[in-house]
Structures are given as structure tokens and as C-alpha cells.
Amino acid sequence: MQIKKYDQFNETLYQAKLANGLTVSLLPKAGFHKTYATFTTNYGSIDNTFVPAGGDELHRYPDGIAHFLEHKMFEKADHDAFQTFGEYGASANAFTSFTKTSYLFSATRRLKDNLTTLLDFVQDPYFTPETVDKEKGIIGQEIEMYNDDPSWRLYFGMIGNLYPNHPLQYDIAGTTDSIAKITADDLYAAYRTFYHPENMTLFVVGKLDPDEVLAWITENQAAKTFADFQPIERKIPATVEDGHDIMPYRSIEMPVSRAKSIVGVKGLTPIKAGTEALKYRATVNVLLEMLFGDTSANYLRLYDQGVIDDTFGYDFELQSGFNFLTFSGESDDPAQFDAAIIDVLENWHASLDGQDALLELVKKEMIGRVVFMSNSLEGIANRYDQRLFGSVTLFDEPGIIQQLTLADVAAVADQLLQSQAISEYQIRPQHEELKKAES
């Protein structure tokens, strides 16, 4: 077991790689009542074309299959894993993102029973044509629910602009049509390909004794046999580096009371995994704070002009294989909103040059935020991403932030904020809704 001490935070991370390939991370938190565990596979919604384990040809699977598989993992021949967690008083859940599927529980009691349940239900697939068909109704409702959510539509509208030829553009849950095509055999193929321990991580944080917990996990895993791990071949389109595939503008109408707008910037340069990726994310976050954060001159100017309001927000999404920025908000004049954001992005020099004092302030703020996040078991575990960052954790971030210089920030701005990578997407109120508001 590897031990990494973070003296400033008074935290210790324990890590081990088991014989079957599973990476285990344990972080005890003194004084906490709860233990939170996530069991994650490097398999998400964008992995819809891959060579199934045992096969030798790329196959295209229906959109939404990773998420469908997540739903179906809970159901077994004679029980439901939710029920088993319930019997032990735990609360369980799962989520699928673009690149990962995570199964999790949190519990204040019976940690061994709950951990065993987590490992066992994720490592024991059971799909039949009947159970697969039944799930289509539930997931269909989930898709409909998101269809009515303007913020969700706005976000995926932008992704569709930035990635028109990439599986990112598809809703994580798929569509009613795509999930109708999913079969039990598809689920088994995806399961065998991506749920090998070598492609998975287990992160446990909170009330725990690391030696005891590692022994339980090791014993559980040693009792199971797995096929030899076959390196996974997935087809993910490479980023078009000159950005010519990006759709610069689209808009739709929805029953909303006020227009919503989103500006996106696609990262055209691939980011290398590891500590470098963590540094890149930290630098972009500093850059965003300096350009648009509430301590920036731009924020106050745009706020006082009424161009942005409290609905304004921005985000940097960095994942294995892609990265992009989004800026969104509600506005009575979405064209004005977009123009103001793009103006700041294209003239980033003006906002950065000579701003050493602002940089120091932003760094201070971001280091403080790491301390905030360290209170949250979920925050610590969910921020961990082995595929992208390697074994580093939240507690490695302050050291990286501390060393950032204005030149680092400018270099990233120069690389990321390219005019040809910028796109706009708007949701405008439906015509009859406008009339109703006016009358």
C-alpha cells in the first residue's frame, strides 16, 4: 500500500493496485460519521463504438448504452441491489458522464456489508430481454424530463455546435429511439469490455480504517476470477485542430419566459493526461476568474450595464480526449450578451496585462476553496479521476495554484481562446408566450 501524507491538510491517502488490476484509494476522515464509496469504470456516453471483448472488429452500439447499463446493473435474478443497500441502511446511487460510470453508496454503519454489496453487484451482470425492455419506459421518462429542462437543452445545444461529428453531442441517456434498439446482448458486450477491474477504480473516503478496509476488498476480489485484461479499443474522433467543423451559431424556441444564451469555446489542442492536465485545469480556472469572476473589472461593468445578471455562469469541462469552455446566462438581448462575452474573450490581453495583484487575489481565493472542498466526502471522491489526472487528488491542487504566474495564464489564454473555436447557441421564448407576456 502506498501512503501519501498531506501535512498542511492533516490528511493521508492510501493507495494500492490489486492483483486483478483494480486501483483502490482510501482516505480516512477523522470525526466523520459517514463513509462514501465510489466504484468507477472508465466508460461513458462517448464510448459508443468499440471492439467488444473477445471480438476483433469495431462495432457501433446504440447511443445511451453506458447509461442504460448503469440502470440495469442494480437488477439481479432474485433481488435488487438498491434493496440490499436499503437492508443495511445505506443510500446508494449511480451516475454516467461523458467518460465515466460510477456506482456509489454512503453509509454510517455496516461498512463491510455495504462495500461487499457494492463490489458484488457491479461485478455480477444479469440482463434478460424482459428486464431490458421494462427499463425502456423508465429511461424514456428520464429523457423526457431532461427534454423539458431549458438549461440542459442549452448545454447540449452548445455541445452539438462544438462537436457535430463526435459522440459528445448525444444526450448521455440517448434518445427514445436509440434506447429502443438496446438488447441484453449489447449490455453484456459493453459490460465484458469495460467492467474489467483493470479499467476500474474504487475510492473510499470518510469513517474507515485503511488496513481493515483494504483487507476486506482484497479478500473479496481474490475470490473472483476475471478473464485476462484485453486493452480496450474505442473509436473516438480526434479533435479537428483548425476548428472548421464547429457550427458558429444556432437557436431554438422553447416555452421560456426569458431568452437563454450560451457561448462556447472548444479546446483545439489535446491536453496530456497526468499532473499536467491538473495544472492546465487550474490555470484555465484562474484565467476564467480573472476575465469574468466577480473580482474582475469585466464582471462589474457587464453587470452594471445589465448585460449579465445573477444567472451568469461559466464552466471549464476537461475530460480525457476533449475540453471546452461555456458561458451562459439569461438575457433580454441574447445577441448583446454573446457579443459582450466574445469581446472579452478575443481581447483577453486587455484583461490580463499587468494584473499581478488580481492574479494573487484569485489564487488566494482558489486555495481557500480547496479547504472548503476538503469538508465534503463526495467532493474529494468525485474530483478524483485516474484516467485524466493519474493518482493526484484535491490536496495536490494548492501547490499547483501557488506556483502559477501571469505568463502561465497568458500562455493558456493564447492557446485556448481562439476566434475560430467560438460558438453561440440561444433559446428564445416561443412566439405565443411572448404575446401572452405582453397582453
Partner: protein, 422 residues
């Protein structure tokens, strides 16, 4: 440690080394009055974004950033017949920052300057800031209706509390009210908040309790001459199910049902009602989740929630419009099943474990300690962790059935996506 700073002004410090941050909450509590709700929401926006020392958002944001990114927020909420205006500030504990900046002391100073020196002069709020925040709040209130789940829940609330506008409107007020407010009247109203509201100050973390108390004592709060607000809203409703349907363009229809359930926080039947709610629709093991979602595949969400400060129970489900009748029928059947005892003892034991898990888990959130201290001050019924656990464990199946029999379905609101007859 509790310190009475004046009549109706109380400081509670909760020492804890579990967290790496310290949290300070200042809560102003008043009886819920229809005419004050929107004023208080606008006040919370003004206090959150400006003060004499920090006249614009950037100045305020800079002050927070200098305190290593302190998190500051203001908000309003309704609890039974009371309305709360709340300021919350969280700072890192400097021990984890390799810094000797006295962050907690600075945080309290910051809050005091926000509360006692708002941005304004000549007995009125700064006009430009006031106008901007009126616009922003109005836009925010209007946009809330875009969230269809929220909209349907709010329409149910209107139906349930007919005849009592203070209970019907959202806790953040209405857009129409904003047109009638002005910077001078709001200033005058804020003076009455400072003078008359019950004030609770809660400080949670690894702090010097004496120093914190001294710092707050220095403010010189005045005694409140107004009586303490009542904690519960009694609104017994015998009305039989009244349905209401509205059509909008949407993919998933929203079904919301409102029930009378006269059980109040930590009063008679309270712990049995907690278990009843878990059994009915409050957990993934519940009757609603199992029967509406899992067995019939009719919904993605189908759940129930208790409001033990107003004595109501609510059910909400996202469904296909065509399935309305079937879903309403299944929900009704689940309640009847509980009334006649159609549930296993094993399930009850699991539901209790789930409640206990939630309770113990909540002790890992700094906010829980602050919120609990506020509720204890409101209801004056503090219960120790051990008592709480014992009370939940002691609930019997007969008690759960008895609670189920107290439930009366009053109202249904259905936001339908299709113009078909249901």
C-alpha cells in the same frame, strides 16, 4: 454555548474540529406577513451585493477573496407561519492555509458591516443599486416558472392554502409586488427588521467561543419588544380531492398531490410520520417508488415529502399525460395499503435504518448544526441525538397505520403536456 445578547437576540456557538472551515449564520425571523415577503426577498438581494464599505459587487467580491475566498450568501425561507431572512458566511480555518490572517474575526467584522451599514443615505437605499436589484429579482422570479417541476409544485401550494395569500405565494415574493416598492420605504422596513425580528447568530467550527461572544456583544443589540413568533401553521383541511389541470408545451407531465396531515415537528405522531413518509414515497424502498416507477414503469420520479411546520404531505411524479388516471389510482392504492397494514416488519426495520443513516450522515455537514440550532430556537423542543435515534426505533407498525389514517387528499394539480382528454 448560548449567549443572550438581548431579549430575542441569541448567539449559539457550536465548537467542532471536524471541519476545516468555520461557519457563521445570522438569521432574522418574523411572523409571516403577506405584505413583507417580497420586501424581505429584495432586502436579501441588496445585503448580498452591497454595503457602505463595499458599494459594488466587485468591492464586495474583493473583500471575500481577501479572506481566502470566503463564501457569502443571503436568502429567504418560509417555515410554517414564520419568514426567515438569513445571511451565511463560511471561511477556511487559517490553520490549513499556512497563514496567520485571523479569518473568523474578519468574517464577523464583515457580516456586521453588511448588516448595520447598508449602502444608502438620507434614510433610503442607494437608488441605482436598488433599481438594479429590483430588475434582477423580477427576472429571477419570472424565470422560476421555466422549471416545470417547481411551477407545478407552486400551483399546488396555491390550491392547498386557498384564503391565505401569505402561505400561497413563494417565500421570495412576487414580481408584481416589486413595482410598488421604493428605496425609502424599504429602508424604513429594514430598520424595523433590525429592531423587531428575532435574531439568531450561529457560529460552528474550531473557534474561540469567548472571543466570538465578545465581538458580537460589542454591537449592542436592543431588546426585542415583540413576542416570539409561533412555530406552527395550523390549517386543518377536510376538503375532498379537487383536481385542476393546466396544459403547456412540455414532454413530461407533472402530477402533484397535496394532503392534509396534521402532524407537527417533534409533536404527537412525529416519529411515526417520518417512518410513514419513508414507506409511502420518501425513499427508494417506498411504495410509490416500487409501484409507480419500478413495477409499472410509469415515472422517472415519484416521491412524497412532509412539511411538519404546516401539517401537509405532498406527492410529486413526472409521468406521461396519458397515464394520469392509472398513476392517481396507484398512488391512492399505496396509501390504502399502508392504512390496512399491508407492509412487512422487515421493510419498516430497513426504513428506520435509512432514516438513521440520513440523520447520522447529516452530522457530517457543518450547515446541519446551524440549521438545527435555528429550529431548536424556533420550536424550543431540543432533542439529543440518542433520544432521536431511540424515538425512531420505537415506532410500531400500528403507529404507522394510525398516521396513514390521518391523511386526507385535498388537492391535485396536473401540468399536462397533451391536449388529450385524461
Amino acid at each position: 454555548m448560548q449567549t443572550q445578547l438581548a431579549n430575542g437576540v441569541q448567539l449559539t456557538t457550536v465548537p467542532s474540529r471536524q471541519f476545516k472551515t468555520n461557519q457563521i449564520i445570522v438569521n432574522f425571523r418574523a411572523p409571516l406577513r403577506r405584505e413583507d415577503v417580497t420586501k424581505r426577498a429584495l432586502l436579501s438581494n441588496l445585503l448580498e451585493t452591497s454595503s457602505e464599505a463595499y458599494p459594488d459587487q466587485r468591492a464586495l467580491a474583493n473583500a471575500l477573496a481577501k479572506m481566502y475566498g470566503a463564501a457569502f450568501g443571503a436568502g429567504v425561507s418560509r417555515k410554517g407561519p414564520t419568514h426567515n431572512l438569513r445571511l451565511a458566511l463560511t471561511v477556511a480555518n487559517e490553520r490549513f492555509l499556512a497563514s496567520d490572517q485571523p479569518l473568523t474575526q474578519q468574517a464577523i467584522q464583515f457580516l456586521q458591516s453588511i448588516i448595520f451599514k447598508p449602502l444608502g443615505c438620507d434614510h433610503q437605499f442607494d437608488q441605482a443599486t436598488f433599481d438594479r436589484q429590483v430588475l434582477n429579482l423580477k427576472a429571477a422570479i419570472q424565470s422560476v416558472a421555466d422549471d416545470k417541476q417547481y411551477y407545478a409544485a407552486q400551483q399546488l401550494n396555491v390550491a392547498l392554502f386557498q384564503g391565505d395569500p401569505a402561505q400561497q405565494i413563494p417565500s421570495f415574493g412576487t414580481a408584481a409586488d416589486l413595482d410598488d416598492l421604493n428605496a425609502r420605504d424599504l429602508w424604513t422596513y429594514y430598520q424595523s427588521v433590525l429592531a423587531d425580528d428575532q435574531i439568531d447568530i450561529i457560529v460552528v467550527g474550531d473557534v474561540d467561543e469567548q472571543a466570538v461572544a465578545d465581538q458580537w456583544r460589542a454591537v449592542g443589540f436592543s431588546d426585542r419588544l415583540t413576542p416570539r413568533p409561533r412555530p406552527f401553521y395550523h390549517h386543518h383541511n377536510n376538503q375532498h380531492f379537487v383536481e385542476q389541470t393546466e396544459y403547456q408545451t412540455l414532454s413530461q407531465a407533472k402530477l402533484n398531490l397535496g394532503y392534509d396531515l396534521p402532524v407537527f415537528y417533534r409533536g404527537e405522531h412525529y416519529y411515526a410520520a417520518l417512518v410513514f413518509n419513508e414507506l409511502f414515497g420518501g425513499s427508494p424502498l417506498s411504495k410509490l417508488f416500487m409501484n409507480v416507477r419500478e413495477k409499472a414503469s410509469l415515472a422517472y420520479y415519484a416521491s412524497s415529502a412532509l412539511d411538519t411546520f404546516r401539517g401537509v404531505l405532498k406527492v410529486s411524479a413526472g409521468i406521461d399525460s396519458a397515464n394520469y388516471d392509472q398513476v392517481v389510482k396507484i398512488i391512492g392504492e399505496q396509501l390504502t395499503a399502508i392504512q390496512r397494514g399491508d407492509f412487512s416488519d422487515d421493510l419498516v426495520a430497513q426504513l428506520k435504518l435509512g432514516l438513521i443513516n440520513d440523520f447520522e450522515s447529516s452530522l457530517d455537514s457543518q450547515r446541519t448544526f446551524a440549521i438545527q440550532a435555528l429550529i431548536d430556537d424556533l420550536t424550543q423542543q431540543p432533542v439529543s441525538d440518542d433520544e432521536w435515534l431511540a424515538n425512531v426505533q420505537a415506532v410500531t407498525r400500528e403507529q404507522i397505520m394510525a398516521v396513514a389514517k390521518l391523511v386526507t387528499l385535498n388537492n391535485g394539480f396536473f401540468l399536462s403536456g397533451a391536449q388529450t382528454c385524461k
